[in-house]
Symmetry: C2
Subunit: 302 residues, 2 copies
Amino acid sequence: MLKVTLLGTSGMMPMKDRWLSSCIISAQGHSILIDAGEGTQISMRRLGERFKPIDIICITHFHADHISGLPGILLSLSNDGRTDPLVILGPRGLARIVSSLCVITPGLGFDIICREYSDKGLCYKTDDLTVTAFPVRHGIPCLGYTVTLSRKREFDKEKAAANGVPMKLWSTLHKGISAELDGVRYEPDMVLGRERKGLKVTYCTDTRPIPAIAENAAGSDLFICEGMYGENDKLPRAKETYHMMFSEAAGLAKKAGAARLWLTHYSPSLTSPEDCLDTAAEIFPAAECGFDGKTIELDYPD
Amino acid sequence: MLKVTLLGTSGMMPMKDRWLSSCIISAQGHSILIDAGEGTQISMRRLGERFKPIDIICITHFHADHISGLPGILLSLSNDGRTDPLVILGPRGLARIVSSLCVITPGLGFDIICREYSDKGLCYKTDDLTVTAFPVRHGIPCLGYTVTLSRKREFDKEKAAANGVPMKLWSTLHKGISAELDGVRYEPDMVLGRERKGLKVTYCTDTRPIPAIAENAAGSDLFICEGMYGENDKLPRAKETYHMMFSEAAGLAKKAGAARLWLTHYSPSLTSPEDCLDTAAEIFPAAECGFDGKTIELDYPD
């Protein structure tokens, strides 16, 4: 199960009832925070999200509305008693930016490991969770992120019986752990059947629509994408500021074959996103407007 | 008239319904913002406070809960079309801290003038408003601030008549402007009577109680002071962290001869400040608990 919650859905400036874009994704006792604009720590407390499970913070880019809340998050983690190192992913220059912002957070109780995007890509794994960054097209270097939760292969009862695997080892081998009993060694492959699709969430803001986004979001169970502007006459503005229309986000969701699209990162000028949802839904019917606190628990289909 | 509003009243960490300590003081079309913790710009929007009139930002010290919202405030000012320079007052090191935080706010439309406290003091005047900083005692350099709105001297009708001042010049001279009529020059002093007390607000956090605070807060119409802890058994903790008890804030208000005391900057552990108000009120009866959005319009007594 992968739980996804939007902590904020505003772009550029926080509104009084719509805070800066941020998202928290949790599974298997781990949480991944994507972006940390001003107010993210308050939003987490309001929504009952816990700081302790955060293993990794993914920063899309260094505009203030996506990172100004980082010092507050770091202090909240420290006040929560964290001693384990924290991994932060982001574009090139991340270490310098984090170091500058941390001038107001002396004495944190843990180390920060900054990992910057390079030509070799950027990827982080913990248990069955994998976070992968991909470059998008904004005015400054900016990353999208996919989060996948892999799923164990099917348990093949007939294969297990044919291989003479004792029943008491089935569970262990199904977890991918080799075992030995009465001097005989058993391997996971002796009980494992076909591969099964895991869960995938793709998060993407701020950017113009580019083919790489649809490629990286391919088959996502949830595609969270910026929709800075809804009204069609805002396309020139979207191009100028390297942002996206609702309809463009919907086009990417369709190309990606995503199951769901959540729009987020609305312009302050877009006071009522729901009024423009049709412009996305006519291209991708499973489009929904994100809002602060919107949440879903994604589960395997069968 | 001096309008004072508490934008937040929490210390250390923002709570879901109590945000980081900050205060805005407005008079004569000017606003003074004291501290800018994370969320200050959101709090301003929620309370209907405007960004444009902010002439000056006063930073008490560089702990994140007092300054992490500065980038957001600067961007809000810039998005509001500001081109006039902005003055920021603070302890020594201010320019370096502001410069570090501004790594995420490139392209602001105005200049920032950092003025740091020195042995010569630190003072800023605009129209009839004066802001004065004074050092307090925290773990790191920290400043309290007094804001005064001066008042014109009384108009002395008998003196004006005795000096033969034509009635049509009375208003001009009362404003302190010299005038000439029919070849005769008239000076303000020809109509001005006794001095009149203006309005004074003192803001003070984070600090242990020291005599200089009561001296600087002397005669304040409103003394806003930290009350990190209410329960008496927290005194050792208050001493250890360089903070104050409700009762200690009340003692300072009494010594200062303040008209009112508002407590603020509560510890996250102090969930219900009102429950401890008695510990202040028995020393200084005009003590009140501050809360986010608490506001007052102070006017001259007569």
